[in-house]
């Protein structure tokens, strides 16, 4: 009984999600991460079937809940809908992405801290205290690294770990 509300929310989310997703069989999707892994099955821990680079157009062959069976050339496999985009992304893959190793570390330093100009802005406006507070937020935020988020998603059965 204790888990009943959580179960209800899960069931509700499962049935509502297809209504929110714009993907349909025969449609298109785009990779939005530097590397997107396609899987053999629509399960987060399934065997990788292919790896695809950034901003690649994918053909959506089948929709299964929040998972999509997609293909691009010879590459074919399942991907969680949250790992692709409806529109072609516009970032510069060479300069805009953070090194993945940095986001996996346990360092308490922000991957993209306040830059020198923003820091000078704070100093010139007499907002040194606020600047220090923003840096505190950056430090706290950096502690919640990619591994911690994955652990959270698994524990809460969110993202590709939804059941």
């Amino acid at each position: 009984m204790k888990n009943l509300p959580r179960l209800c929310v899960g069931v509700l989310a499962f049935f509502c999600l297809p209504l929110l997703l714009a993907y349909e069989s025969g449609g298109k999707a785009y990779t939005k991460k530097l590397e997107t892994v396609l899987l053999d099955e629509p399960k987060p821990l399934a065997h990788p079937a292919a790896k695809i680079g950034y901003a690649i157009e994918l053909n959506v062959e089948q929709v299964n809940g929040s998972w999509l069976l997609v293909s691009s050339g010879a590459n074919r496999g399942w991907v969680f809908a949250g790992n692709v985009a409806e529109k072609k992304p516009m970032a510069n893959p060479k300069t805009d992405f953070l090194p993945s190793a940095a986001s996996e570390t346990t360092a308490s330093v922000a991957a993209r801290p306040l830059d020198e100009v923003a820091q000078n802005y704070g100093a010139q406006k007499g907002l040194g205290e606020a600047k220090a507070d923003v840096e505190w937020v950056e430090q706290q935020s950096a502690q919640v690294n990619s591994a911690a988020v994955t652990e959270f998603l698994q524990a809460k059965k969110l993202g590709e770990f939804q059941q």
């Binding site: 929110l20 997703l21 939005k32 949250g82 830059d115 100009v117 606020a130 923003v134 993202g159």
Partner: protein
């Protein structure tokens, strides 16, 4: 924006020909460097780059924190907001951004985001919806959508050459006038005018979809807005989302689920 391209082209042409605006004719003028910088002005007219976005976002974040009583330094609450927020951000349409989530030490009820990925909610809002992950996800999803849809940057971009000039003038020579103007244009919107209702509804829609995609029940934002409406009925003097469209209008536009 399209109409500005000829201006950028003209500046580039002048720079290439050595007939440069005053700021480039100082001692130590380097035509190659100037041409590169002019390229940035042109880029600015077409859209603000990630480096400039993060820089301006950092300054906006400082202003937000300064205006709302600083940051509430509760490590556990801040970690929780970051876990929920970064879970949503993982599936947003701009995974290249490094999102950071903080809680403002203010009893008012509001939330803000700044370009580059800074998201803040007030302590008052956290205490009202923070007990429920899915309501919190609805609120954070709304703010994340403002960032991914570049709502604040569009305000600067509408200010014509500001973005590119801010890069040249502020980052290189230390003249903060243009940079400050860009930051002011965002903070004025955030603190005084608010985004136009259409932009807010777009953020509601996007936030709801992002929360649902992440696995949260899609009704979280609506539930959070209803909780705020109840709070407003009880505490009539409390400032609640003062820079957003009326709560009832936002609630009406979100499906009952």
């Amino acid at each position: 924006m399209k109409g500005l391209r000829p201006i950028g082209f003209l500046i580039a042409l002048l720079a290439t020909a050595g007939v440069c605006p005053a700021q480039f004719s100082l001692n130590g003028f380097d035509p190659f460097k100037a041409a590169k910088d002019v390229g940035k002005v042109i880029k600015g007219t077409a859209g603000i780059g990630l480096k400039e976005e993060c820089s301006i976002g950092g300054a906006v974040a400082i202003e937000i924190v300064a205006r709302f009583g600083g940051v509430w330094k509760n490590v556990d609450a801040t970690r929780r907001v970051n876990l929920v927020g970064k879970s949503l951000a993982r599936y947003c349409d701009r995974p290249e951004l490094d999102f950071k989530f903080g809680i403002l030490n203010s009893e008012t009820i509001n939330a803000f985001s700044a370009p580059g990925g800074y998201v803040f909610i007030t302590k008052g809002l956290y205490e009202l919806v923070g007990g429920s992950d899915y309501e919190l996800a609805g609120v954070l999803g709304h703010e994340i959508t403002h960032v991914t849809q570049r709502h604040a940057l569009k305000i600067i971009e509408r200010g014509e050459l500001l973005s590119g000039v801010s890069d040249l003038a502020a980052m290189k020579s230390g003249d903060f006038a243009k940079y400050s103007a860009a930051v002011d244009s965002v903070t004025k919107t955030l603190f005084e005018k608010g985004f136009d209702p259409k932009t807010e509804y777009e953020a509601d829609k996007g936030g709801r979809a992002l929360a649902a995609l992440t696995g949260y029940a899609p009704g979280g934002l609506r539930a959070a807005l209803l909780a705020l409406q109840n709070e407003a009925a009880v505490n009539k003097n409390r400032a609640i989302f003062s820079t957003h469209p009326p709560l009832q209008k936002r609630i009406d536009r979100l499906p009952v689920e």
